[in-house]
């Protein structure tokens, strides 16, 4: 997909601060929605509940972040309007979050890569000059520590498990690795927020994330794939074909019965 030739995020003009919050919130929301697809389909009842718990944590983070983003946007959109009434190009999640679940191993690979990223982002936000964002991050990091424990634990079990489980997670890792470049590719939004002391610089986070992932991969006897140049632009609103399908399911009710209440 050619990012440069596509128009980016129609709709209201959003400040860098607002867009940064949407990136974090949309990443949590889309990843939470992906994990919710496992409900009723997990390999074991216990994992079903485990993945549902992760999903609910992530959607809880998304609510706090999107509510705040809606206030900064100043167009009267609340968390629900942002979650259920935006189209794919207005979503600013990391491309990795929208990738399909695949088998359990692939879901775990995606989860582990993003958990480790969120751990560093939330840790960096603890010192944010934006106190509200800092307090959201302080709550989220406790949840994320458990998420990483869950996903890294499974990655080690599967990587260092049977021949088949090893092969499957290594393949998933090889395939999903290209999306990790986006996590640390700073653009004008990231630079503006870092300069204002709101967000940590992505360049500082990358080596810590990398070390954390290397440790897990080593224990899991998995091979770290070669780096791939940045070519994915979910955080600029240019998505892979998968996000539309995620949103079609997630937004179906509100789109069909606008304003429906539970």
């Amino acid at each position: 997909m050619s990012a440069a030739s596509r128009s980016i995020t129609p709709g209201p003009v959003q400040s860098a601060h607002c867009r940064y919050l949407l990136r974090l919130g949309d990443t949590s929301l889309v990843l939470g929605q992906r994990l919710a697809e496992w409900v009723g389909h997990s390999p074991a009842l216990e994992e079903d509940l485990g993945l549902a718990n992760l999903s609910l944590d992530l959607i809880g983070q998304a609510r706090l972040l999107l509510s705040y983003a809606g206030e900064l946007e100043g167009q009267g959109r609340d968390e629900d309007a942002l979650a259920f009434l935006r189209d794919a190009p207005a979503f600013l999640n990391m491309t990795l979050a929208e990738q399909p679940n695949g088998d359990f191993g692939r879901t775990i690979v995606r989860q582990c890569l993003l958990d480790a990223w969120q751990l560093e982002v939330y840790a960096g936000l603890a010192d944010s000059s934006d106190r509200r964002l800092a307090s959201i991050a302080a709550k989220a990091i406790k949840e994320t520590r458990y998420h990483f424990r869950f996903s890294s634990g499974w990655l080690v079990r599967l990587g260092d498990g049977t021949e088949e489980s090893h092969r499957r997670v290594q393949e998933a890792l090889n395939e999903l690795w290209r999306f990790t470049t986006e996590l640390f590719a700073a653009d004008e939004v990231d630079d503006a927020l870092a300069a204002a002391g709101v967000a940590p610089g992505l360049a500082e986070l990358q080596p810590r994330w990398s070390a954390r992932i290397d440790e897990v991969l080593q224990e899991a006897t998995l091979v770290r794939p070669a780096p791939v140049p940045y070519q994915w632009h979910g955080k600029r609103g240019v998505h892979t074909e998968y996000l539309g399908h995620v949103l079609a399911e997630m937004q179906h009710l509100q789109r069909t019965y606008p304003g429906a209440q539970w």
């Binding site: 485990g50 458990y146 424990r149």
Partner: protein
């Protein structure tokens, strides 16, 4: 998958100072996974501050057919209950 996993019994301490209570069982590949599963299955509604797990197969249980021999003899020994003592008014917490 869980059919291949052994069964674990789960005990949760609801507050510091209270004892761990049996809350149920679950399947897990090993003890470490059983603790994580117990967290996900049994502490979703803030039920606990501490988790114990043990292999169900490690429990040694009484045989239901021995119930008469084991429990029947206690039935006519009501004097073992501490209800025959008058509690002095000065004793507040008993």
């Amino acid at each position: 998958m869980s059919n291949d996993w052994p069964l674990y019994e789960v005990f949760i301490r609801s507050r510091s100072g209270l004892e761990h209570k049996h809350v149920g069982s679950l399947h897990a590949a090993d003890a470490a996974m059983a603790v994580e599963h117990a967290r996900d299955v049994y502490t979703r509604r803030q039920e606990g501050v501490s988790i114990w797990v043990m292999r169900s197969s490690d429990i040694v249980a009484s045989d239901p057919t021995d119930a008469d021999a084991l429990f029947e003899p206690a039935r006519d020994k009501v004097y073992r209950h501490p209800t025959f003592y008058a509690i002095p008014d000065e004793v507040k917490n008993l």
